[in-house]
């Protein structure tokens, strides 16, 4: 079939893609250039940036980031699974819409606005501490803001929609007859869930973990504002090196390393997924 407009239709996308590719190429190039203190222009070719990254100070940030991302993805999964299940299985259309709206809204809030809302909620005089103190549960505010816990809570909030959507897609694919068959064979609901529903949700669980991980890795405003400089993730490090110290080459090298790390993590998840292909689950 001839598609005379195809070229015209994809040209804007191609233009954007070309822009991104050039930017990526520039970042890649900068990553291998030397930083000359006091100057914006980089020096010659070097591996120094990557050697620098091996220092415990920076390697530790990578390690922390991966841990944080994984923790966030797992928590988002745990919180998102019941939500996704309810979303898919709810019969009442209003209940369905309510769950969908609640779980997807974070996606449509600007990152800064959402983060600011969390500052209000988590602050020492914020909603959580205020309520707990008013109820007399605690005497002094629990430190939530500028802590790892606060950052994780806020990151789970923003990761949740993606995870819920991924899970819902997978759960919606499960043939209800399979659960009915299991029940007819004498399995109680919990057993049906563990032996049928959960294993068959595996593609969604892995997709949710993967996406949640990558999603969190690229988060910036949340760790920046809620972490308040005390919770460092790779993105914050890139920001402070690039825009406070103007060390563009090192920032670029960190970005490249982050990208590679994410790619490796995603590849790892895909590898996990492979046995499922054989079963025909994905």
């Amino acid at each position: 079939m001839r598609r005379p407009f195809l070229g015209w239709f994809i040209s804007p996308a191609a233009l954007v893609a070309a822009g991104f590719l050039l930017a990526m190429a520039a970042v890649l190039q900068y990553a291998f250039l030397a930083f000359i203190p006091g100057e914006l222009q980089p020096g010659g070719f070097t591996f120094q940036n990557f050697r620098e990254m091996m220092k415990p100070l920076y390697a530790g940030v990578f390690y922390d980031t991966v841990k944080l991302c994984f923790l966030t993805a797992v928590l988002a999964l745990l919180a998102g699974y019941p939500l996704a299940l309810a979303l898919v299985r709810a019969r009442n259309p209003y209940v369905k819409s309510a769950i969908l709206i609640i779980s997807v809204t974070p996606l449509f809030l600007g990152e800064v606005i959402r983060t600011y809302a969390w500052i209000i909620v988590l602050g020492n005089r914020g909603f959580v501490n205020g309520t707990l103190m008013a109820l007399g549960v605690i005497d002094a505010p629990i430190p939530l803001l500028f802590t790892r816990l606060g950052v994780v809570v806020a990151l789970v909030h923003v990761t949740l929609p993606v995870v819920v959507i991924m899970l819902a897609a997978a759960i919606a694919h499960i043939d209800r007859d399979l659960e009915r068959a299991a029940a007819a064979l004498g399995a109680k609901p919990m057993r049906v869930f563990v032996t049928v529903t959960l294993p068959l949700s595996m593609p969604g669980i892995i997709a949710g973990l993967t996406t949640g991980f990558a999603w969190t890795f690229s988060a910036f405003a949340t760790p920046q504002l809620i972490g308040g400089g005390r919770v460092n993730m790779v993105s914050n490090l890139v920001y402070s090196l690039g825009f406070s110290s103007f060390n563009f080459p090192f920032a670029a090298a960190l970005s490249v390393a982050g990208l590679v790390l994410t790619a490796v993590a995603l590849a790892g998840f895909r590898l996990l997924l492979r046995p499922l292909h054989k079963v025909g689950l994905s």
Binding site: R180, A184, L185, G186, A187, V196, L200, K278, G280
Partner: protein, 357 residues
């Protein structure tokens, strides 16, 4: 007291909003019986099956399985074997684990599970496939795994929801024979749902013909076909030519009716309160009609002919009587009555039924 029924329904009713999907179903099934729920889609047969299985809750009435009241019992406590239209084999388990599922749910020890699974797979001739995944099996094999999985738990009731509808014709016939043989051998009480009357007639001890949420007739295939109790049953099962007629006289269990200028003896029970002179519809089966050389009959012209190998179906236009359908041995029909040929249709030995028009 009579032996307990394998299944008993007492006025089971199910409504979906304003629609009554099932009106007061009454049913008694004996141990080892093969009962088919037959009807067009939307007749309530699947609703009834789901009520028996426990996937739906009845709005009124009681359900007894093996004499035990199960109306409010959850599905997993009803001790059923069920085969789904989609087979519903667990894709993440191999054949042996699929078949053993119900045993594991019942806490049967591992060693016993293994021997019973092997036995069940032998029953459906799939012993060699124990470690395959469902995806690696053909439709017929998946069907047999589903059957083995339902039977291995020795259910009190085997429920089959249109299990053959996804199979092609030859395989379907083969599976029907196989299922029937296994069912007879094990003596398991079976409730079979289908919209395919051939399937229903060939396999069942008794058939429940359903329409619009009601069981219209429950009887052996012979009676369902030969003495339908309801015009819907007469029209739905087999082919019928319907002639408008008139009730002449009633005489005990029989009645005389007149249609297309001919007189017929019909059972009186289906005529309800119709009085002599009342308009009736006379239902004739294709085998009630045959070509004759002379004698009482209707003159007609063959208007269409369908050759089906062993037999041929002729449609004969007979003036005021309208179109009649005849079923004749294939070769003879093809040789003697092409489209356009004149044919005299006789009714000797016909056993039609009539309903008030």
């Amino acid at each position: 007291m009579a032996a307990t029924d394998a299944l008993r329904l007492e006025g089971v009713t199910k409504r979906f909003g304003a629609v009554t999907a099932l009106h007061e179903a009454w049913l008694k099934v004996q141990d080892g019986e093969f009962i088919t729920l037959l009807g067009p889609s939307g007749c309530g047969k699947t609703t009834l099956l789901n009520l028996i299985a426990g996937f739906l809750e009845a709005d009124a009435g009681e359900i007894f399985i093996g004499g035990k009241l199960v109306t409010t019992l959850p599905v997993w406590e009803r001790d059923l074997g069920m085969v789904f239209q989609s087979y519903a084999l667990f894709p993440h388990m191999d054949v042996a684990r699929n078949v053993g599922y119900g045993l594991r749910a019942r806490g049967v020890p591992k060693s016993e599970e293994a021997s019973r699974v092997a036995e069940a797979l032998g029953l459906v001739r799939l012993s060699a496939m124990a470690d395959r995944r469902p995806k690696q099996l053909s439709g017929g094999q998946q069907q047999r795994v589903a059957l083995a999985r339902a039977l291995v738990i020795r259910p009190r009731l085997l429920l089959l929801d249109e299990p053959f509808s996804a199979l092609d014709r030859n395989l379907r016939t083969e599976m029907q024979l196989e299922l029937k043989e296994i069912q007879r051998r094990l003596g398991v009480t079976t409730i079979f749902v289908t919209h395919d009357q051939g399937e229903a007639m060939s396999m069942s001890d008794r058939v429940a013909v359903m329409s619009e949420g009601r069981i219209l007739q429950l009887d052996t295939p012979e009676v369902i076909y030969g003495r339908p109790a309801h015009p819907f049953v007469a029209g739905f099962i087999g082919d019928a030519t319907v002639l408008p007629g008139r009730l002449i006289a009633r005489d005990g269990a029989e009645a005389r009716v007149e249609a297309a200028g001919l007189a017929f003896i019909v059972p009186a029970e289906t005529l309800g309160g119709a009085a002599p002179g009342a308009a009736v519809s006379v239902y004739l089966r294709p085998e009630d009609l045959h070509p004759i050389v002379a004698g009482e009959g209707l003159e007609g012209i063959v208007v269409s002919r369908a050759y089906l190998g062993d037999r041929a179906e002729l449609v004969v236009e007979c003036g005021a009587a309208g179109r009649l359908m005849l079923r004749l041995p294939g070769q003879a029909a093809m040789a003697r009555w092409p489209v356009g040929a004149a044919l005299r249709v006789g009714f000797d030995g016909a056993r039609p039924v009539a309903f008030p028009a």
